[in-house]
Structure formats: structure tokens, C-alpha cells
Symmetry: C2
Subunit: 585 residues, 2 copies
């Protein structure tokens, strides 16, 4: 095996073309085996094997600087930069992250997991080089999907304006097939592909780029030739390279949405091993309710920014037609379009992962909240128990969203409550509303929730007790119940249990009433502690006789953590809570 | 006067071309008189008089929907939609805001003050129209400056993809003159202007637009003709219209940077009445220090996103040359470019208004903080006592920024401290650092600050007292001193006075020590209360014997408020503080 002998990019330089092709073949085989067993971003990596080998053959990393957009397509890059065992040996599969990571290698410049940032990063790296009067290539590799993000366009502008060496590689694997063909960047790229780069109006040339098109983006020799031609240019160059997503694995080439990323799959059939367990989940009941609404009301419309599977599968999207809008990986557009839709009388619902919602603070504040428009935002993965890559953490949402005026942010604790909140959010016309979709198995009470959610900030007292009041927010409501059980069983204390429901405001009447027969308020939230829900309560009760204990996660970029351990590390266990509560009583 | 007889756009319809021209002339004269006496966005409005009259003559607002980007160019629109007295009668000058405002008129769809949002708003308004199967024109008016923001590009993509009636008017008043001519959107626009819309590569056509160019954008008749041609189109249309910024007022045409916005000016000479008081300010000492650094170190580089005057004037920018980068109105690019610069060994300093920093949460978190890059961010106007339009509030910065891991956010209280923090921030290589530039007159101690700011979260105890500890953060440090004086003079209480300096973390050692001889901790912050600094302290001290009182501003979009009154309304006065403190002792 040649691949195993590549310990750094230097080892590629001495290979013949045949040797390089063998590296390509072996790398693709390793990808297939690892992703089929272990899961990961399969399709994007299959398509970029030749390009990655060619890049490392022609350029000299780490002197030349590679910046991979999103960086979920950096697996082959990792293989060629000293980390091949993480792709060959199942015992080492978890040695590397799914993204570039400077802690792993000097060949990885940045920790990246969100899209459309590579050009801005490259513009800074290149500018620093120029200020230092150094000389080398700065190379950003960006997919066509990532080009739909506004930040990519800002980067295109800045690199062109700076005017010095920067190589932008648009890895175009034809996402436009999924998109509407009437206009926009995907149409522009398609026109360029179909004309082999000769289309009359060229966006990149318009911005001043030295533009080159390569149709055979999985042809190693042509890639090498092209890179050699543009290496060391004294100006910005844009290479538009057409690759095949999923290249070399037929199921991935044919089903590109499924083979963007996923868990383990059957190599022979191309079927995911755990594809759909059939059971109801918070995601499925959410989708069902929205689908029903859409049938009844043509102004109900779902907005999505590049993660359509979050709400509907392909078939469902087809069914709802114009009532589903995928704006591309353009969260700012999604948030502000939601505002415009609501203003003009539609009922928009934007489904978004918490970690990507972070791209829209000003759109949520200056557009949606300042104009107080009644759109609904579904916030997925806002939990310590969701994605656990440091680049994809979803638990900063409360300090992020809860202090924006006018917003109503809701934390349901079971299916019936969630659906009642969702129904209310869609139909009301008074407030921008966000719902923190619960993470974990579906909990059903079997009793419809008749709460009037237009009465804002009204907490629900589930059990009236004394001494200690437990505020269990959203996903941590069950923990409050467990603590109460333990206090009752072992210490003869009947705790008050509160389901706050509302994150964006306090039930002051309830809080004021607690001092009469309580000594302690405990807040539990499935998110970062600083700037969160509990601290609002601590501030409100600061000069009352009540003591307050806040529980949540300490702010930090926790990486690939054990989801149970991080709770324990932050003092969040029934035992520790009971112990600390007893101290204050 | 014809203008006074225009109570709604309908009144324009019956006018002859001569009558319309008279409206144009009278509107321009009214603009000149109001802005010269009262201040405001002068240049952008002078340039768009003819266009606004033509738009309201041809289209039918409010059935047809106008959306003005940033909306600081909507003065003439306001004159034609029932609000002319606010431009003719000095007694009514303050009746209208400087931006579109639905509370003023049904002709104003949105409250807008930040750039590049109009296309996303229009995409939503048009989509809602389509879902409701209604028929009218949706028209977005966007300046060339605003087109540099990535959100505008996302909107261009979405409108083109939707494919139904939307009219985008690019009001091109040639900001590219200030920009670097080597590439990017300003170059693309310039090429189109110089070729009268015929340039070989047309960005807008590439995105699928039906593109029209008009060079005589201040010619009323040509504007009317063009609008009539494209009215009621069944597809997206982009009109690229070349106007003259400051049109009709020579000083404004000649000095476009100064005549973008400003206070009252002398109509005859074109000189601003209060242009530069010559005294030192926090802004001037900041600029001086950075200028010195730049001379000593070629890797010190200032980044700016479309507000260059914040740091350096034109002459100073010329002097520092390549060490100043204006990325356009593209805050995301600024934040992430700062990250790239720091990673590759430069010393970047990004100067930004707090209200515009809101556009970069994910860039500050996922790019700068996750990668822990040592750039410096200067946050201007983060105070209740800064801009007071509801669209431009700068006091949400602490919940926004302070809970992002790795960031060090500093709150200086005087000149020497500020300069010491700034010097440290630029030279250190450990953390992303933001500095909350003080708002208000420069306070000097005359004693150089020798604090080692690498010891994070170390608060400074200015006076050691007992009973009550006053934490006066940044701009509110002086208030803490005033309260302490009153407590000493009237109540014989020697309060402890603390200058926290660090917003992003607590001095736990100090806080733990207070319980021995204090009953109360009071926090004072010049910003929103919820999710702020004080609540972190309240959370930390929640189960200590100490009581805590937090003072700040209640979250809301306060509009054109009286800066002293809002403090009083939020309980922030020496008298009220003393009264509340005495209650808890």
C-alpha cells in the first residue's frame, strides 16, 4: 500500500503519476471503508480525492496555506498529512475530528465547521503575508453550496480588492440540481458548467478574477497541470472545478442528498444501517403538525437554510411544493425573509440548528424583533446532548436569543406541550416566537395541553411544596422531577417543581410568592450557564431572602465530550444537586 | 408651493411633468434647509430626489411595496407620504425619525437602520404575496454601498430563485471612487457604469436578472419612463441607476464622505458648524495610539467595515496606507479577516460600532474565539448615552459578546487605563480581546496604568470599605464613586468601590472575600440588564449570605429616548441607589 507510506505531503512529491493514482485509489477505498463502518461526511470526500492529492503534490503545505471551507471534506487531506492510520485502522478512527483542527496538525490552519468562512479567513491570511512581505500561496477550497452564503461573497470582494496572491478553488459538485433553476448563484454556476466556463456573463470575472474552468475535476493529471499553471500567481485566481459528489461509489453518486453525510452504511447496497427507526420523535411530530397546517392554510410556509432534511424529506418537500423554501446556506436570508413573510401576512416557520442560528443575531434583532413580526423559529439541537464537535455546539442559544427584546422563546418539556406551543406560535400575530425543540426521546402525557400561551411568562407549578423550588427548564425538566423524588424519598422534603415554559421572561408573581415558604430556588438549564436563564432569576431574587443555585454548563468550546460526563463535571447529577440543596436548607 | 399640497402619493398622479419637476426642486430645497439646520443623512437624500418622485408617480404605494435599504435615504419618500411638515416647519423637524417607520405611515413597511437587508425583506414580502395569490409590485431600493454586504447577495440569490415580480433598484452613487479599484463589487459596478451597462461580464445577468441601466439617474423623465416600462413585470428586474450623491448642492457633491451624514452646516460655505472641537477624546487617543503602533510595527493593521471615519480621517488613512483595510459594509468579512490576520502573525484591530458588531456573532464565536486568535476589537457606542434610534442601539453588547468562550472583554474607565488595555490587547498573543471604548468626555488620571492585564478577571478595589460593595463597570464607574460619596457624606457608610475592568469573567477571590464584612453587592452597568454582567455576579453569589442588586437598562427597543430620563426610569440615579442600598443594610 502506497498510502501508508505517505507521512507528510513531501512523500508525495517523489511519486510517479501512477503512484499518485494509486494513492487516489487507496484513499478512496479507505474512505469507503471508514465511512461505511463509522459514518461521516461521505459524499463530499469521495468527490475531492483527486483534487486533494493534486493539491498536496503541487503546493507545499504548510508553507503554502490550505483553508478548507466547512472542512468536512478534509479527510483525504488528513490522510496525506500524517494521519492516515485514522482512516485505515478502525482502532484509530476516532483519533481525528471530522474537521480541520490545528491541534492535530500544522497542515490544518483553522478549526472550522460552519460554511462560507474560508474566503474571509484566506483574505486575512494573505493580507498578513503581504504585510510581512512574505511569499507563498494561500489557497481556499470552497464548495458550490458554501458559495450561497453571503460571507463567501464578502470574501470574494475582499480578496479581489486586496489583489495579491490568493487561489480560490470552487469545488463545484453540482448542488444546483436540487435547486430551482430560475436564477441565483446555482444557476450562474450551472451556466458556467454547461458552457465549460464560457458563459457570456461570468460572475467571477465581473468581480475581477482571473478565472479558469476545469470540467474534469476528478482527472488527476489535468488537476496537477492546472495547479502548476496558477501556482505562485501575483494576483487572485479563481479555479472553477467540476467534480462528482460521491465519485467512485455508485449509491453516493446517485443519491447525493443522503450521501452528504450519515452514519454507517452497507457497502454493497448503499443503505444506511440505522436509516429511520420508524418511531415518533420530536422532529417527526413537529413535521406532522406543520404538514397539517400547510394543507389547511396556503400561507403557512417553511423556510430552511441548506438543511432541508431537518423538517421534511424529499418526498414531503415535493408534496408541499411552494410552501417550502430552501434559501441555500444563507441563514441571514432565512431569518430576514421570515420577517418579510410575516409582515405581508404569511405564517413563516424557519427550522434551524441552534449552532447555525448563531449566524443571524442581527437579523433576529434588527429585522424580526425590532419589527416585532410573528414568525416562528424552530431551534434544533439546543442541548448538551446534541452535536458535540466544538465547532457545532448548540447550547449557547439562551444568552444569544433570550435577551433580544420582543422575542418569546419557549422550552417545551413533552410532546403535547410542544405541539400546543407550536400551534400557538404559528397562529398568533403578536410576537416573534422561537421554540427550543426538545432533544431526547419523545415524552407523551396523553393529555392535550390547553395552556393559553398568549399569557406570557406564566410558569407552571407542577407540584406545590416548600423549602426548595426546582425550576427545570425544557430538557432538564425531568431532572427537576428526579431531584424532587429523591428529596421526598430520602429527606422527607416536598419540593416545589416548576416548568418555566418561557425562557425570555420571568414569572415575577410566582418568584415573589416563593419567599413565604421557601429558602432556596434551584434553576436547571440544558445550556451554558453564563448569561442564561438561571442568572436572570438570580438577578431578580438578588436582594430577596431566597438563596439561588444555578446549574448549567460552564462556557467553553467543549470538544467531542462524553455527554453524560460533561453534566457530572458541571455538578449536574441528582446526587450532587440533592447534596447542595440540603446545604442551603 | 406644490410640495405642501402633496398629502399622499395620489396627489402626485395628477401633476404635469412641470409640476413634478417643481416638487423635485422644492423637495431638494426643503432637504437643504432641514439638514443644514438640523443635521441628518444629507448626501444620500440629495441624490435620490428625482427617483423618489418618479417612484411615487409611477407606482401605487402602499399597494405596491417600497422597501428602502438602511432607509436613511427615505426623507423625500416621507415628504410625499403625508409627512411634509416635518421637512418644512422647524417646529416639526423631530416629528419623524431618520428612517422608515411603520408607526409613522402605512407607506413605511419596516423599521430599518442597518444595511443590506432590503432584498431579504423584499424576498419575503414577495413570497407572501405569491402564496396569497395577490398581484402588485415589490420594490427594493438599495445603494451601491449596501451591495457590499453579504446579506444583499443572499437576497439577490433568493429573489432570482423565486422568480416572480420583484424590482430591485441599485441606486449607484459611485461609492467605488473611495474604494480600491482592483476588483470586487465596486469594480464590477464601475465597469457597468463606464460601459453604460454593456460590460462583458455582468454580475446581475449572471444571477439571472433582467438588467437595465440608466446613466441619467437624476433625470425625472427618464426615470418615469424606465419605471413605467418595468412596472408589473412577471419576473425579477434589476435597475442599475446612476445617481449623483449630494446632487444639487455643490459642497455635498464634492465632499461625499463628509456629506453622507452630519450635523447642521453652513448652507453657503458647506462647512459643518461643530466640525471638530479640537479637544482630545477617547476616540482621538485611541487613534493616536494605533497610529504610533503602526509606525513601529508594519504588521499592525486596522480593519473597518464601511465606517472608516470611526478610527482615522481621510488624511490619516492615506498616511497608514496598506495598514488600513476597509472591507466595505461587510462586518462578517471584517471579523473573520481579523481572525485570519491574527493566525498568520499580524496584529489586527477591528474598529466597529456596537450596533453593527451584532452582525457577527458567529464570526466572533466560530471563527475568532473557537480558534482563539489574538485580534483586538474596538467596540464603539456601547452605551445608553450613544446613538438612541431604536435601530441603532449599542447597549446589547454584553449579553451578546461576554458569554462567548475565550473572549476577553474589557471595560476601561479612564484614558490611562484604556490605553494600557489597548496596548496589551494589541501586543498579547493569547486571547481575542474586545475593548468597550468609553462613551463621554475623556477622563484623565495623569498616572500611567501599570496593570498586567494578562492576569485575567482581576478586579481593582479602589476603596476598601464595608457593608456595601459597588461594582461600577466601565462608563458607570463614576456613578459608583458618586454613590459612595453620598453614602459617606450623608450616612457615614464607607462603601467598597470596585472597578471590575473585565466583563467576561468574575474575580471570584474578591467576591468570596466580601461576605466577611459586607451585606450587599451592587452592580452598575451601562447596558441591558438581562444576560449582562451583574446577573453573572448575582448567579455566583446566589447562595452566599450577600444580597445583590443589579442595575442596568431593561431590554426593549427604546426609541429616540432622553438619555438622562432612561437612566432615571431604570432606577439609575444616586438618590435611588442610595435609598435601595440603605434598605438592604
Amino acid at each position: 500500500m502506497v498510502l501508508e507510506t505517505i507521512h507528510s505531503p513531501k512523500d508525495l512529491k517523489s511519486l510517479t503519476k501512477e503512484g499518485l493514482q494509486q494513492v487516489v485509489d487507496e484513499a478512496r477505498q479507505a474512505l469507503l471503508e471508514k465511512t461505511s463502518r463509522h459514518g461521516g461526511h461521505n459524499g463530499p470526500n469521495f468527490g475531492i480525492v483527486e483534487m486533494t492529492v493534486a493539491l498536496h503534490y503541487v503546493f507545499n503545505s504548510p508553507i503554502d496555506k490550505f483553508i478548507f471551507d466547512v472542512s468536512h471534506q478534509s479527510y483525504v487531506h488528513k490522510m496525506l498529512t500524517g494521519r492516515v492510520q485514522a482512516f485505515l485502522d478502525p482502532a484509530h478512527y476516532d483519533d481525528v475530528s471530522g474537521y480541520t483542527n490545528p491541534k492535530e496538525s500544522e497542515h490544518d490552519l483553522f478549526t472550522v465547521g460552519h460554511t462560507s468562512t474560508s474566503l474571509a479567513l484566506a483574505s486575512g491570511v494573505a493580507k498578513a503575508r503581504d504585510l510581512k512581505k512574505e511569499s507563498y500561496n494561500v489557497i481556499a477550497i470552497i464548495g458550490d453550496g458554501s458559495l450561497s452564503g453571503g460571507q463567501a461573497y464578502e470574501g470574494l470582494n475582499q480578496i479581489a480588492t486586496t489583489g495579491s496572491n490568493t487561489l480560490i478553488i470552487v469545488n463545484d459538485n453540482d448542488q444546483s440540481i436540487a435547486a430551482n433553476p430560475r436564477g441565483g448563484i446555482y444557476t450562474a454556476l450551472r451556466n458556467l458548467r454547461e458552457s465549460k466556463g464560457q458563459a457570456a456573463d461570468n460572475l467571477f470575472k465581473a468581480l475581477g478574477y482571473d478565472y479558469h474552468y476545469l470540467d474534469e475535476g476528478n482527472d488527476l493529471n489535468r488537476l496537477i497541470q492546472l495547479f502548476q499553471e496558477v501556482k505562485d500567481a501575483d494576483h487572485p485566481v479563481l479555479l472553477h472545478i467540476h467534480t462528482v459528489k460521491g465519485k467512485g461509489y455508485k449509491p453516493a453518486e446517485e443519491n447525493r442528498e443522503a450521501f452528504h453525510a450519515g452514519g454507517p452504511f452497507n457497502l454493497e447496497t448503499g443503505e444506511y444501517l440505522s436509516d429511520g427507526n420508524g418511531g415518533a420523535s420530536y422532529n417527526s411530530v413537529t413535521a406532522d403538525l406543520i404538514m397539517d397546517k400547510m394543507k389547511q392554510d396556503p400561507t403557512v410556509v417553511a423556510i430552511n437554510a441548506g438543511t432541508p432534511m431537518l423538517l421534511f424529506n424529499q418526498e414531503e418537500r415535493k408534496k408541499v411544493g411552494d410552501q417550502f423554501v430552501d434559501v441555500g446556506i444563507a441563514e441571514q436570508e432565512a431569518a430576514t425573509m421570515t420577517t418579510g413573510l410575516a409582515k405581508n401576512g404569511a405564517k413563516p416557520i424557519w427550522a434551524v440548528f441552534s449552532t447555525f442560528m448563531q449566524r443571524t443575531y442581527d437579523q433576529l434583532s434588527h429585522d424580526m424583533a425590532l419589527n416585532n413580526q410573528a414568525g416562528t423559529i424552530l431551534v434544533y439541537g439546543a442541548s448538551v446532548s446534541s452535536m458535540n464537535d466544538e465547532s457545532h455546539l448548540g447550547f449557547f442559544d439562551i444568552p444569544f436569543l433570550a435577551h433580544i427584546p420582543n422575542f418569546v422563546y419557549l422550552a417545551p418539556t413533552n410532546k403535547e406541550e410542544h405541539l400546543a406551543m407550536l400551534d400557538w406560535a404559528i397562529e398568533q400575530e403578536e410576537h416573534p416566537v422561537a421554540i427550543r425543540i426538545p432533544v431526547g426521546p419523545l415524552k407523551e402525557t396523553g393529555i392535550a395541553d390547553k395552556t393559553d400561551y398568549s399569557i406570557l411568562n406564566k410558569n407552571q407549578v407542577i407540584q406545590k411544596g416548600s423549602q426548595v423550588a426546582l425550576f427545570g427548564l425544557g430538557n432538564f425538566y425531568g431532572l427537576a422531577e428526579d431531584v424532587a423524588k429523591e428529596l421526598a424519598a430520602k429527606h422527607n422534603i416536598k419540593a416545589t417543581i416548576v416548568n418555566p415554559k418561557f425562557i425570555t421572561g420571568l414569572d415575577k408573581e410566582l418568584l415573589d410568592s416563593l419567599a413565604a415558604d421557601h429558602q432556596l430556588v434551584v434553576t436547571l438549564e440544558d445550556g451554558v450557564l453564563e448569561g442564561g436563564y438561571g442568572q436572570m432569576i438570580a438577578g431578580y431574587l438578588g436582594d430577596s431572602p431566597l438563596k439561588v443555585q444555578n446549574y448549567g454548563i460552564e462556557k467553553a468550546y467543549h470538544d467531542r465530550y462524553d455527554r453524560k460526563q460533561i453534566l457530572v463535571d458541571n455538578g449536574i447529577s441528582v446526587n450532587n444537586l440533592v447534596k447542595n440543596i440540603l446545604k442551603d436548607l
